[in-house]
Symmetry: D2
Subunit: 195 residues, 4 copies
């Protein structure tokens, strides 16, 4: 099975990033797609399987690349999918669910923004089945910090490549404009799948 790039079109509804920042981000995403195909071909050929070692081995290098590139593919797709709506209102059900775990929707929002500010990779609102709660997951890289078995609902890229071309070091502004450009319909659809 080959990885194929999904199509994401820039439109006027995307207010969190401009076309230039969007285009360069798309190229990086495509890079992860290509790397996954390279990695899967190496695995298919059983490269280095017999000399596997945890200090250094070619197989170890491939496996480290696999989780990094695969999560790079998946998280970017979720991110591009959940931005671009000018109707920035969560439906009542979402507000209610987040209020249950955070006291209020606004308090959840404060936690999510704080998670973004504290993270070097990604901030993800997810459902954690182990505790039956909604958590704001903090990742430092594509594959460092993902919560096991969690279902991602809202995904925010906090890598410097996601905002630096447009915002430089003003990450607070980037986050603020992301919060105003969430496609809550997409988030709601993902929540539907939980039930």
């Amino acid at each position: 099975m080959q990885f194929v790039k999904l199509d994401f079109e820039y439109s006027d509804d995307v207010t969190v990033i401009n076309k230039e920042q969007f285009d360069v981000h798309m190229r990086l995403y495509e890079g992860y797609i290509n790397k996954m195909n390279e990695i899967d071909a190496l695995l298919k050929a059983n490269t280095g399987v017999k000399e596997a070692n945890a200090t250094y081995s070619e197989f170890r290098g491939i496996k480290r690349g696999e989780t990094y590139a695969l999560n790079g593919v998946i998280l970017h797709e979720l991110y591009f999918e959940n931005i671009g709506s000018t109707n920035n209102t969560p439906n009542p059900q979402i507000s209610q669910i987040l209020s249950r775990d955070y006291g209020s929707f606004d308090n959840w929002k404060a936690h999510f923004v704080a998670t973004a500010l504290a993270s070097r990779g990604w901030a993800i609102l997810c459902y954690d089945p182990r505790s039956d709660t909604f958590r704001n997951d903090s990742l430092d890289t594509h594959d460092d910090g993902y919560m096991a078995m969690s279902i991602p609902l809202l995904v925010l890229d906090m890598y410097e490549h996601a905002y630096f071309l447009q915002y430089a070091d003003n990450k607070a502004e980037y986050i603020s404009r992301f919060m105003d450009n969430i496609d809550w319909q997409v988030v709601g659809d993902r929540m539907e799948l939980l039930q």
Copy 2:
């Protein structure tokens, strides 16, 4: 919601580790349970939310601990659950599925063992919905290397604490005895949920 330790009983069917190694591992698992309750109380009290920062902040420390401890809880529970069967035969459906992606069950097994030898934390057979394939996930810590959205089916703890008391540095022997003590019924049950 409070985290509560699940009960795992040692029995003669557990051949991969002896009672002493099992008991110490149980105490470490319980430590993660307790840490999650400590962390959730801090989050509930909105500790450090207003001073979040990605270089250093109290909130950042809490969030890093959250993914580490939560995955520590979840992966240990999956691990203890999928060991301890003396009937070490995967059902035909599992063999067939893994043969599809790896050429043969034996080749999958070679890949899984190599993944364990190449990993500093965990080896996990999981289903990756993005590529509709079964992958052997390599983790270096509880929260470094988990594949986004993946469903874990078979979980092997490769932390030194999992085997060192009994096997010292003979990790190949530990892995070999794990492969002979997998509860394939549990793995099969987890696969059922995929359909």
Copy 3:
């Protein structure tokens, strides 16, 4: 002892980055200075010393921040110090030394550029006293990958914040212009200290 920001002035001799990219990078460097003072004050007050724990503890969070911010300070200072010369010729002694370990100066250069392309944080030419050789150190973050006891001679920032504002994802171009803007006099001075 308080950390104080060193002065680095932008000049026409700095060709690897423009003034805008330089200024934003300076602000990030200043952020690490401030964080170190915050962290040192917490340590001075013995914050969390009694509840130290490796899964999660406030003390652990402080210590993780300490290595990250401190290396952020040190490596940025070395980087800003070793760029900005239009006389881009290593002195004969440097060429000779690198030729000893890499066959030729050009082959060392190929390795250094490859190290930069393979790294998510920093590329550093350093002296490794353990093997009495010059190594190209690859770091993924400020504090992930630094070689113990090594002496840094040439430091290149490969964080996305170092080039993205000016070069977007064209990191090869950034590296190429860095290689043409090295202050080899500074590198030579650092080598002098080795003898």
Copy 4:
């Protein structure tokens, strides 16, 4: 230049670990020596230099292994060198220096023990030339957390492999017995080199 294993002999003066724990630890150290020779041969042959990439590439895997194995070699040598003295008294100069930065020798000791308890890899007392202070460095792996340009003076291995065979999960006891078995003469000799 080939890496050659240094000789460390077990004696009755080593009270922090028994002979069995010592021997297995020696084998792991030897593994890092061997891996460095393997890695240096790959680098000498310019393996993968032309296809270097930061997501995945063979060269990247080699460079990650290089810092991990090299630090594994260096830190283990420093550790084995600074244990095994029954005359557990720091000389007055060391006490005085640490008192300057920590208020008292006992407070430094509390910080060092806390650093060990908070670390997943190593605790190191080192001299930081940037701030002209003595810091307790916390590492999570061989190459994650080392302070740039620092000079290590006292090194404690907190990997589970360092104590688990003898102490199981009782790491507090291991640390306590380490503190009573430090060779302060060695630490003093390393401090001499600073002046």
